[in-house]
């Protein structure tokens, strides 16, 4: 036995992989929300932030590659673990009853898969700037502000002005927060960092953080659709 097979081959090791990659992705989701909320500070602030990221490859690319690695590890462990879980109960019960297990805890795979599909769309929409998927017929890469920078602010406003796009976004962040309401406290359990003295506190933190994230993310398309951000 070596360390590699103990981590990537054992049940607990795969849960460690899932927990650590999940923790880092949670950190990204928090940072991304804070970045996006700058839309409420006006075009100058948001475009300057976007310009800073786009012109700082020494930050942008390590972050992108790191995130990609975390996503790959998170999805890989999810697929392996859930295949093993399905195989462990070949015959289902005739009477299916749920004891204690929360809705979020039972639907982690499904919420995760829908979020993954959304992330692909979201990247094509706002990172690759693929014109065909934004449903507004506009070319986002041609949007420039007065200083010649990529106009992230107008891209956001135009992007979310399509109700279907905004709705998909709202559903995805809703599912993301459902996923995190279970995941953020479970990752401590998987890493062995939970006990009865602060366990309930972690559960509350997970639910609270998920709610804040949902409100923060949902505020952007909602404000645009309501005409509060133009």
């Amino acid at each position: 036995m070596n360390l590699f097979s103990l981590i990537f081959g054992s049940s607990l090791g795969k849960k460690f992989v899932m927990a650590i990659s999940g923790a880092l992705l949670f950190g990204f989701v928090v940072a991304h929300m804070l970045g996006n909320l700058q839309v409420f500070l006006g075009p100058e602030q948001l475009n300057a932030y976007g310009h800073f990221l786009q012109t700082t490859p020494e930050i942008l690319w390590p972050a992108r590659l790191g995130l990609l690695a975390m996503v790959v590890l998170h999805i890989w462990s999810a697929i392996r673990l859930s295949r093993e879980n399905k195989a462990a109960r070949p015959i289902a019960y005739a009477v299916q009853k749920t004891v204690k297990a929360s809705y979020a805890s039972r639907t982690m795979l499904m919420s995760g898969l829908i979020i993954a599909a959304f992330v692909v769309y979201h990247l094509l929409h706002f990172t690759v700037l693929m014109q065909a998927v934004n449903l507004t017929g506009q070319n986002f890469s041609a949007l420039l502000d007065v200083k010649g920078r990529h106009d992230v602010y107008r891209m956001m406003v135009i992007g979310f002005s399509h109700p279907a796009v905004a709705l998909f976004y709202l559903i995805a962040v809703g599912l993301l927060c459902l996923h995190l309401s279970h995941g953020v406290s479970s990752l401590f359990q998987s890493l062995g960092l939970k006990n009865k003295f602060y366990g309930a506190c972690l559960d509350r933190f997970a639910k609270f953080a998920s709610l804040i994230l949902f409100l923060g993310y949902a505020a952007i398309p909602s404000a645009i659709l309501l005409g509060l951000v133009k």
Binding site: N85, A88, R89, Q96, V99, S186, S190
Partner: protein, 258 residues
């Protein structure tokens, strides 16, 4: 009271099973669930039928032998209660009760409601013990054990190995059982010497038996007749991680190589 039972009948591990219905008549509310099944079986035997096979031994909730999923919940859903201690007063006259065996790939059905739980024995054989040299028993108080540790170890040691945790888990995971067995020895000074090896070996045996993984749903602790806490799974995860960080798997490989 009179009840209708829908019971899983299966001749042996290689024959497909099916549900069959039985009428349980003249049931007294003071009977335990198993005594109710005894009455049904006596009726079946009197009519020349094959009695329903189910596991039972002490019938006082301490041996971990009974193993019935009653209306979808292992041991029937009364908190901290095994099926043998579940009384018929919790049911109503005319109830229709579905009785199924534990369902897990690692626990194949041997007959009707009896499953093979020997994977649990193999997990215990892989590390659920303390290696001691024979000789005179040491004085009971020469090894100090902090009271908090002994209390916690006793909470874990309450596990009777019935397998309800596996039966209740949506992933048929045995984590709660293994965590209880790892923890109750790892908490005590007698067990500390083999702490790392125990965590690694018992988890390995668990994985090899084909149980699922933990999704932290908490179903296991909710149905556990001994109310073993989910905290022990976190403790096992911690012991396992610590063993990895200490590189204990290398030490073991060297020892095995002579």
């Amino acid at each position: 009271m009179n009840l209708t039972l829908r019971v899983w009948r299966q001749k042996n591990a290689h024959t497909p099973g099916e549900f069959r219905e039985y009428e349980a008549t003249g049931i007294v509310p003071d009977m335990s669930f198993l005594e109710m099944l005894d009455v049904v079986n006596e009726g079946l035997i009197a009519r020349g039928g094959e009695p329903i096979a189910f596991d039972s031994d002490c019938r006082e909730g301490i041996c971990g032998t009974c193993s019935l999923v009653i209306n979808g919940i292992p041991h029937g859903g009364q908190r901290g209660t095994t099926a043998c201690q579940l009384h018929m007063r919790h049911f109503k006259d005319g109830d229709r009760i579905t009785i199924e065996p534990w369902r897990a790939r690692a626990f194949p059905v041997l007959r009707d409601l009896v499953v093979d739980r020997s994977p649990f024995d193999r997990i215990v054989q892989s590390g659920g013990f303390v290696s001691v040299n024979t000789g005179q028993a040491v004085d009971a108080n020469c090894l100090p054990v902090p009271k908090d540790d002994s209390d916690l170890a006793m909470d874990a040691a309450q596990c009777i190995g019935c397998g309800a945790c596996v039966a209740a888990c949506k992933n048929a995971s045995a984590m709660l059982f293994v965590a209880a067995k790892v923890s109750h020895l790892n908490l005590l000074p007698q067990g500390k010497a083999e702490k790392d090896r125990r965590a690694l070996n018992m988890v390995k045996a668990m994985d090899e038996a084909g149980f699922g993984n933990c999704s932290v749903t908490g179903s296991c602790e909710a149905v556990c007749p001994k109310e073993i806490s989910l905290d022990f799974i976190a403790r096992m995860n911690r012991d396992y991680a610590a063993a990895l960080l200490k590189g204990k798997f290398h030490a073991k490989a060297q020892a095995a190589g002579g």
